[in-house]
Symmetry: C2
DNA sequence: CATATCATGTAAGAGGTTACATGATTAC
DNA sequence: GTAATCATGTAACCTCTTACATGATATG
C-alpha cells in the first residue's frame, strides 16, 4: 500500500499549500527550527503572507510525516532544526510552477466606511485617522529599509519591498483625498515631510 | 437560564464577526434572501471583503437562532426573506462602533516572486504578465463604474471605489517598474492610455 | 423541452487564530 | 534571583472554501 495511517488520517499527495511551501522555500538556505521559520517568514513575507507559530509547527509536523522535511538532532534549548529532503525540494519546485492565485484583501476599515452612514462622523474619522497613522508608519519603515539595504537587496526581495512601498503610498494618498465628511476636519496634512520643503 | 442549546452548542452573546455584521448592514435597506445578500455583498464589498454562499446561509441561520434576523414567509421559488430585528439592528451598531482591525493582504504572486530565484525566468514573467492583465481589467472596470454612476454615488461607496482605483493603479505601476529580470522582455507598455489612438 | 439562472442548503475539510501550558537560557 | 526572550507544542475554535445535492422558474 502507498498510504499509511497517521493521526487518524492518511498521508496524501495533495499539493502543498502556500504556507507550507514557503517554509520549504526558507529551508533552502539551511536547516531551521520552527521558531526561526516564524521569524524569517515574518520579516521576508509577513507583509503579504502572514502565518502564525501554530501553523508553522503544524505544517512542519505534517511535512515531516510526508517526508518533505527531516528533523535533526535536538540542540540547546530544545531547538529542533528541520532540513529539506530531496522530496521536499521537489515538492517546493512543483508548487512554485503552478500559477499563483488571485490576491485577497480583507480590509475591515473599508467595511466600516461602507456602512459609515450608520456611524457618528467623528467616530468614523477617528478610525480613519488611526489607520492612517499605521500606514504612514509602515511606509516610513519600508523606506528606511530601502534606504539602508536597498541597493544590496536581490531583485526579488527588492520587488516585494517595492510593492509594499507603492501600496502604502497609494493608501496614504487615498486617505488624504477622502472627503472631509469621512476624514473629519482636516487636521494632519503633513504626511511625514515638513510642510515648507518638498 | 440565558443560554439554550442548539446544534450541539449554546447560543452565546459573542460579538458579531465582520461577515455577519455586513449582512445585517445590508438588511437595513429591507428584507433580503440569502441569495440577494450574496449578490449584494459581492457588488458592494466584494473587492475588500469576500464571502461565499455557504457562509451567508450559515451566518443567517446562526443569526436567526440568536434573534438578530427573522425569516419571513416563503415566497415564490422558495425565496426566504430575512429581515432585521431590533436586536439585530443593535448588534450591528455595536459592531460598527468597534475599531476595525488591520487589513490583511494575501498575495500569492508576491510569494512566487520572493522565491523567484528558484523559478525559470520566463515562467515567472508569464505569471507576472497574467496577473497584470487581471489588474488592468479591474482598474478599467472600476473606472467605468466611476464614469457611469460616479457622481451619483454616496460618499461612502465612492470612497471604497476610490480605494480600489488607487490600489489598482499602484499595482499596475508596480508591474511596469519591475526589472526586466522579473517582468520578462518588455512587451506591453500600454497601461490603458492610448499610445496613438486606441 | 432543454438550458440557464434562481434559490436553498449540507458536508467535509482546509486554513487560520487565540489561548493555554511548559520549560530553558540569557541579561540585568 | 527575576524578568525577558527563546523555544516547543497542544487544544479549541472560528472562518472560509469546495463539492455535493436538490429543485423551481424563466428563456429560447
Amino acid at each position: 500500500m502507498s498510504q499509511w495511517t497517521v493521526k487518524g488520517g492518511t498521508v496524501k499527495d495533495r499539493p502543498l499549500n502556500a504556507t507550507a511551501a514557503s517554509l520549504l522555500g526558507f529551508l533552502h538556505s539551511g536547516p531551521m527550527t520552527g521558531w526561526d521559520l516564524v521569524r524569517t517568514a515574518d520579516v521576508l513575507i509577513g507583509d503579504f503572507w502572514s502565518l502564525t507559530r501554530s501553523q508553522v509547527y503544524r505544517e512542519l509536523a505534517a511535512m515531516e510525516r510526508a517526508g518533505l522535511v527531516a528533523a535533526g538532532e535536538l540542540g540547546p534549548r530544545e531547538r529542533r532544526p528541520f532540513s529539506l529532503t530531496d522530496a521536499g525540494r521537489e515538492a517546493f519546485r512543483r508548487w512554485l510552477e503552478i500559477e499563483p492565485g488571485p490576491e485577497q484583501i480583507r480590509y475591515p476599515l473599508l467595511l466600516t466606511i461602507a456602512f459609515g452612514q450608520h456611524l457618528a462622523p467623528e467616530r468614523l474619522a477617528a478610525f480613519v485617522a488611526s489607520h492612517r497613522t499605521v500606514h504612514a508608519a509602515r511606509l516610513a519603515e519600508y523606506e528606511r529599509v530601502l534606504a539602508g539595504a536597498g541597493a544590496g537587496l536581490d531583485p526579488h526581495a527588492r520587488a516585494t519591498l517595492d510593492f509594499g512601498i507603492r501600496y502604502e503610498r497609494a493608501v496614504l494618498e487615498w486617505f488624504d483625498h477622502l472627503p472631509e465628511q469621512i476624514r473629519g476636519g482636516a487636521d494632519d496634512q503633513e504626511s511625514g515631510d515638513q510642510p515648507g520643503a518638498r
